[in-house]
Subunit: 217 residues, 2 copies
DNA sequence: CCACAAATCAAACGATTGTTTGAAACATAC
DNA sequence: GTATGTTTCAAACAATCGTTTGATTTGTGG
């Protein structure tokens, strides 16, 4: 466990390299040789420290996701303290996105790269994560769902679930960085990759969607 | 070109099998041997008929996408004939989703499987499609963007682009079938996989997002 | 029937994959 | 210094990948 080369040990260097490459090429298209080369470690180090490529992938996710989800729950808890009689939809969405902005600005915790990875994993959960993700995510989803049910009492429980699903999709997709906008011939939207800029336009959209009338004409 | 085994020739059988497998496992994780086995054709048939795995992938996409996009444009054109003075946001969203519902109900054109593939390709465009997708999609996006700009005159052009991007993301994500809802411990939402049911809840959400006030408090 | 092109087939190609091996290098404790 | 356990390393492992080959079968037109 001595810090030889860099300031980081071998396992961490592997995690860092894998994080970037997984988000760039996906799980299958990223080889262990690409990872170990970028991390400047021996090829066998992956299987020595993690056991397999799949476990490495789970390690990349869980290293960041568990603390991040905890932060999301804490953010909502704090907001509820200040407003014990229930939060507005606006406050709920803002609370959910605040940790994302903080994380995006903090390269030490993965920054925008991990957010992109998270979005992609969520949009296309790999087999090796199908059992892990629900366990990691269910607490956060349930907390925010409960807050939304309180904020939208005129909607049925099922309808809130529908809209929460849509809202999550919108948010993940917006952060995934795949740029539907780039397909538009005209107008390169300025700041399309800046998380803070994304959130500025995203919040009104999501809030309006969540608070839409129950059955429009 | 004689129809030997089934009612379909070899190239079509390969396309059908690849379509299902690509949606199920992704591009990299789907081997040619899986495809040819499912299609009940010889392994070499893929390279004989298509040239390479990448070209096959492009073939799977373009076979369905080009006619579908044409249908989306035609749907908007028809709606504009009935309302030459401009469409409501509601009508625009409905027009865009109508071809998707028709396609989802038509297994002969790929049905829900192809819609899922389309959503995933859009969320995570493979390298071999990065040049193809913009060309196939730009016409549709530009047509609907123009309609939205007319329907939302109080918004700037950039803001419309932002919201169109969010709306596309919401729609694709909703159809991708990855079920954020399944992560929720409570309440299995009924009909979560039925396209018609999805659209019923999706339209109000997207319309509200698109028509949100410019700068909420 | 024959000639010619199209399509199918089993088999093998070289390359790359994740993983394992066993020795060498390192660290720590006595 | 010696012993012990941990980590690194070059090399090889079997398996699978996409692709190619060359012979064989099939279909078509004269």
């Amino acid at each position: 466990m001595s810090f030889t080369d860099n300031g980081k040990d071998t396992a961490t260097r592997i995690l860092d390299a894998a994080e970037v490459l997984f988000v760039e090429h996906g799980f299958e298209a990223t080889s262990l040789r690409m990872i170990t080369q970028r991390a400047a470690v021996n090829l066998a180090a992956v299987n020595y420290h993690f056991g397999s490529k799949e476990v490495l992938f789970q390690g990349v996710i869980s290293r960041r996701l568990a603390p991040y989800n905890q932060e999301c729950i804490e953010e909502l808890r704090q907001a509820l303290i200040d407003a014990p009689h229930g939060l507005s939809v606006d406050s709920i969405v803002a609370a959910y996105l605040r940790p994302a902005i903080r994380l995006a600005k903090d390269p030490a915790r993965g920054g925008i790269i991990f957010i992109r990875l998270m979005s992609r994993v969520f949009a296309e959960p790999h087999d090796s994560l199908r059992d892990m993700l629900p366990r990691l995510y269910s607490d956060v989803l349930e907390a925010y769902r409960a807050a939304l049910v309180k904020a939208l009492p005129h909607l049925g429980s099922h309808e809130v679930s529908w809209r929460l699903q849509f809202a999550m999709g919108t948010i993940f997709y917006a952060f995934a960085g795949n740029d539907v906008a780039r397909l538009l011939s005209q107008n390169n939207v300025p700041g399309a990759r800046d998380p803070q800029e994304i959130v500025k336009h995203l919040v009104p959209f999501v809030v309006a969607g969540l608070t839409a009338p129950n059955r429009p004409a």
